[in-house]
Symmetry: C2
C-alpha cells in the first residue's frame, strides 16, 4: 500500500484527499508550498484549493521555492485565491493578475526568502504543503525533484500537509543534502568548500505533530520547455567560449574554469551546450536549476559534478534520467535554495555566473524583470544572489528583440535589478563587452562598440556623446531623454523612431 512509502506507519491514518486538504485553509492564511522551477511542487492540494476558492471564496498569501508547474499559479489567479505571491512565478495568467494589481507580488532573490522568514521579517506560515517521495521511519521526508525552501517551510510552518508522490522513483533518495545555518544570533557557517561538498542529511525533519494530512499523488512534474539554440544564441555562446579560452591562455583560469552557474532560458542553455564541444574539462557546476544541458554535459564527461536546488528537464530527459538515476546520483546534489544561492558559498567557490538580461544600459545596469519598467515578466530569481557575489558576473541577451523593434541595450534601463557594481561582462550576438576595471564612461563606449545592434549604434553614440558634452558627470545622462527609446516603443511600436528631445 502506497508502495511502502509511509514507513512511519502510524502516520497512515493522516491520509486524506486533496479536496479534504483544501478545506484546512482559511481566509488570510500564509501558505507555503514546495516547488522550484516547476519541479517538486504541490500538484494536488494547491489545485484543489483553487477549485474550492471558486465556490467558497478565500484569499491567501502563497510563497514557494520558485515557479510552480501544472498551471497551478494560473488556476489560483483565476479563482481569485491569492492576495500576495512570492518570490517568483512564470505563469501568464498570474502575470496578468500581478500587472493589473489584482495579486500583489514580492519579487525576491531566491536565496532571501528563507532568511527573511528566519529573521521574523515576514508573517508566520500557517500551512506548508511539501511534496515528498517517501516518509522515512523517523517521520522525516525525502523530497522529490527539488529542495527549494521546503526545509525552512517544514521547520517554520505551524502545520504541514505532505503530498506523497508515488511517480518519483525511490532511487532519488540520497541526492538531497539538507542543511540549516540555524537561528540568530548563533547561526553557523555553511561548510561547503567545493561544489560537491556534502554537509547535511538526505531528508527533511518534520515534527510529526505538525502533520495535518498526507495526500497521495501520482502526477509527474510539468516538463521544461527548452528552445533549441539558434544563430543568435549560438553566437553568444561562441563569444563566451572564446572569452574563457583567452582567460585560460592568460593564466587567469584553468581548463576546469571555476564552478558554473547558469540561469534558465534559451541563451543560458545554448552557452552550456557550447561547453560540450569545447576544450574545457573537469568542469563543475554550482547552480540553481539542473537543466537538459546539465545532463548533456554530465554525459559528455565534460562536467564532473552539478549542485543545484532542482532538476527541471524536458520529458525525454526526465524519462531517461529517472530510468537509471543511480548513474547520476554521486554526481548531482540538490540543496535548499538558501544554500545553493548563499552569498557565502558563491563567493567562496568563485562562481562564474551566467544570467539572462531583459535589457542592459550603456553603463552596465541590468533589468531582468520589468517590461518597459512597469510590467513584471517572471521575477529576478536567483540572478542577484549570484551576480553580486560571483567571481565573474556575466549577463547575456540578444542585441535586439521583436524583429529589431526593440534594442535590448538602452540608454538607461527602465528598472534596475543588477546595478553597475554587479555586472562584469555583457554579451550579445554582436560581441562581448568586458567591463572589468572600467569606469562608467569607458564601459559605455565598449558596450556601444561591442554589443549594440548596428541599427541602434549611431543613435546610442549620439546619446552618449551629447550626455558627456551637455551634462557630464561620473555617469553622463540626459534625464529627460533617458527613457525616450521606451517612450517611442510605446507610442510607435518601435524604439527606432526615437524622437530626440
Amino acid at each position: 500500500m502506497y508502495e511502502n512509502r509511509i514507513r512511519k506507519t502510524e502516520l497512515e491514518q493522516l491520509i486524506i484527499t486533496a479536496e479534504e486538504a483544501a478545506m484546512l485553509f482559511k481566509d488570510k492564511m500564509v501558505v507555503a508550498s514546495s516547488g522550484f522551477t516547476k519541479a517538486g511542487d504541490s500538484k494536488a492540494v494547491l489545485m484543489a484549493l483553487a477549485e474550492r476558492a471558486k465556490i467558497d471564496p478565500l484569499k491567501v498569501t502563497l510563497m514557494t521555492g520558485a515557479s510552480l508547474g501544472q498551471g497551478t499559479d494560473g488556476a489560483l489567479a483565476e479563482a481569485d485565491a491569492l492576495s500576495l505571491r512570492l518570490p517568483f512565478q512564470v505563469d501568464p495568467i498570474m502575470r496578468k493578475a500581478i500587472n493589473k494589481g489584482e495579486v500583489f507580488f514580492i519579487d525576491q532573490h531566491l536565496g532571501e526568502t528563507a532568511n527573511l522568514l528566519r529573521a521574523n521579517n515576514f508573517p508566520k506560515i500557517d500551512i506548508a504543503i511539501l511534496e515528498a517521495c517517501l516518509i522515512a521511519e523517523d517521520g522525516s521526508i525525502i523530497p522529490t525533484t527539488s529542495v527549494g525552501n521546503s526545509a525552512s517551510f517544514a521547520a517554520l510552518a505551524e502545520k504541514v500537509i505532505i503530498e506523497l508522490n508515488l511517480s518519483v522513483p525511490l532511487s532519488i533518495r540520497g541526492v538531497h543534502d539538507i542543511f540549516s545555518t540555524g537561528e540568530y544570533p548563533t547561526r553557523r557557517a555553511i561548510p561547503i568548500t567545493k561544489a560537491n561538498s556534502v554537509i547535511g542529511t538526505d531528508s527533511i525533519a518534520i515534527n510529526p505533530d505538525k502533520i495535518v494530512g498526507i495526500v497521495i499523488t501520482q502526477k509527474t512534474d510539468s516538463p521544461a520547455e527548452i528552445e533549441a539554440p539558434d544563430a543568435a544564441t549560438t553566437a553568444i555562446a561562441n563569444h563566451l567560449i572564446g572569452f574563457f579560452n583567452r582567460e585560460v591562455a592568460k593564466g587567469n583560469l584553468t581548463k576546469s574554469l571555476l564552478p558554473l552557474q547558469a540561469g534558465i532560458g534559451k541563451v543560458a542553455n545554448a552557452v552550456l551546450t557550447g561547453f560540450t564541444h569545447s576544450d574545457f574539462e573537469d568542469l563543475t557546476m554550482y547552480s540553481e536549476v539542473l537543466q537538459d544541458s546539465t545532463f548533456d554535459l554530465l554525459d559528455s564527461g565534460k562536467l564532473l559534478f552539478a549542485s543545484g536546488s532542482s532538476i527541471t528537464v524536458s520529458q525525454d530527459y526526465y524519462d531517461r534520467i529517472f530510468a537509471d538515476f543511480d548513474k547520476y546520483k554521486d554526481r548531482v546534489i540538490l540543496r535548499p535554495q538558501d544554500i545553493s544561492n548563499a552569498a557565502e558559498v558563491i563567493r567562496r567557490l568563485g562562481i562564474i555566473a551566467i544570467n539572462t538580461a531583459l535589457e542592459c544600459d550603456i553603463y552596465g545596469n541590468v533589468n531582468s524583470t520589468h517590461v518597459s519598467g512597469t510590467h513584471m515578466m517572471n521575477g529576478i530569481g536567483g540572478s542577484g544572489d549570484f551576480a553580486r557575489n560571483s567571481y565573474l558576473s556575466i549577463f547575456v541577451t540578444t542585441s535586439v528583440a521583436k524583429g529589431d523593434k526593440i534594442s535590448c541595450i538602452v540608454p538607461m534601463v527602465s528598472h534596475v535589478d543588477h546595478c553597475e557594481h554587479d555586472v562584469d561582462i555583457i554579451v550579445t550576438e554582436r560581441g562581448l563587452a568586458d567591463l572589468r576595471g572600467l569606469a562608467p564612461r569607458q564601459r559605455a563606449q565598449v558596450i556601444i562598440d561591442k554589443c549594440v545592434h548596428p541599427e541602434y549604434q549611431e543613435e546610442m553614440q549620439s546619446y552618449f556623446d551629447r550626455a558627456c558634452a551637455e551634462r557630464g558627470g561620473q555617469t553622463p545622462h540626459i534625464l529627460e531623454e533617458a527613457f525616450s527609446w521606451h517612450t517611442s516603443l510605446r507610442e510607435t511600436g518601435s524604439m527606432k523612431k526615437t524622437v530626440m528631445v
Copy 2:
C-alpha cells in the same frame, strides 16, 4: 632611533625620504595605498608623488581602502597625476575632476576590491604604500588606525613602500585581526561567529624582498568632521529607537538587538548617539568605521564591543582615545575590509545596517551616490555590502534638502545603488516606512504617507495614482514623467515647480 620601531633591523637601510620614494613611480603604474575613511592613509609618499607630478608629469591608477585625508586626493587631482581612482573618495577637488571626466573613477563596494584583485579581475599592483606604526622582528607590519585593503595590497603588490608613522602609539598593537580567505579554488570560510571573534594575526606579513623603501612620518590622521545632531536627525533617531522598541516588544529582537552597522555622516551618527539614552543594553557593533559616537557608546557601557576597519574620530576623541588605548583594546577590533564587509559574515551575524540615502523613490530604490543621476558625490562605500546581506537594511535621509527645494523622496531615483530588494526600512524626520513583506504598490503608499514632506505629498500621490491608473504593472511608472522632478530642479532650482507632462 625611530623609537625602536624597525625591529627587523636590517630593513633600516631601506629608509628613504618621501621625495626619493616618489621617484620610484612610473607613468601608468597601478598604485595601491592604505587608508580607510581618512585613517591610516599614506601621508607623505602620495603627497610627494603629487609634487613630483607637477614638474615631471605622470599618471597612475590609485586604489585605496576608502577615502584619504590630508587633502591628498585633491593634490593628486590638481597635479593631474591620476588616470583612474577607486574604490571611494570624498575630496571636493577630486570629485570635480571625476565629474568632468578628467579622472576615471570606479565606484565600488568596499568589500569588493580585494576580491577583484584576488580573482585577477583587475591589473596587478605595481607599488603599494602602507602606513604602519611598527615593523616587527619577523618583518611583518603593525598597521595604524585602519586595516582597509592593506593586507591584500601587501600580498599582491610587486613592491611595497612602508610609511612608518611615529605619531601612533604602540599601544595600538593587538587591535588588528588580519585574516585572509586564501586564493581560488581553495578559499576558506571566514570563521567569525560573533562580532568579537578573533580569527587572525595582529600584523600583516610582507615578503621583505618586496620592500623598496621605508619613509618615516609623524603626521596624524586628518580628524573627522562630525556635525552635531539637529532637530531632523534627532527625529530620525527617535523614529528608529521607537521601531527597535516595538520589535523588542514583539519578541523579534532582544534588548541587545543584533550587531549594528552604521554608515558615516550626520544622520547615522545621530542614530548611534540616540542609543546612549535608550533602554537597549549589551549592544555590539560589526561595522566599517568606528566613529566618535561608537566610543561614546562604549564609554556609556551600552556597547560591549565594536568591530570595524578603521577608527575615524574627531581630534578631541583621537587625543583622548589614544592617550589610554589599553582601555579600549579588548573591546575594539580592526579587520581587513573584505572581512568587515564580507557578505558571509554580515548574513551570519544578522547585522542591523543603517546607511544614508541621497534620495529614495516610492518603490524603495535608493541612490547613495549620484546627484541628479549624473554627478558623483563620494561613492557607494560599504553600504551595498551591508544592505544586501543584513538582517535589517535601514536607509535614513531627511525628507527635503536645500531648504525644501529638493525632495529626497522622488518618483524614481535618478541612479540606483540599492534596488528595492535591498531596502527594508526607510526613515525620514517625518516618519518610518516599514517595507518588509510589502509589494511595490503597497510600499509606495507607505512611503508617501510616512516619509514624504507635506510640501510634496500631494504631487507624489498624484504621480502614483496616475501611474497605477494609466500604466499599471508591478511597479507603476509614467516613464516620461519619472524624472520630471529632477528636470524641474535643473531648470528652476526647485523640485516644487514641477511641470506635469
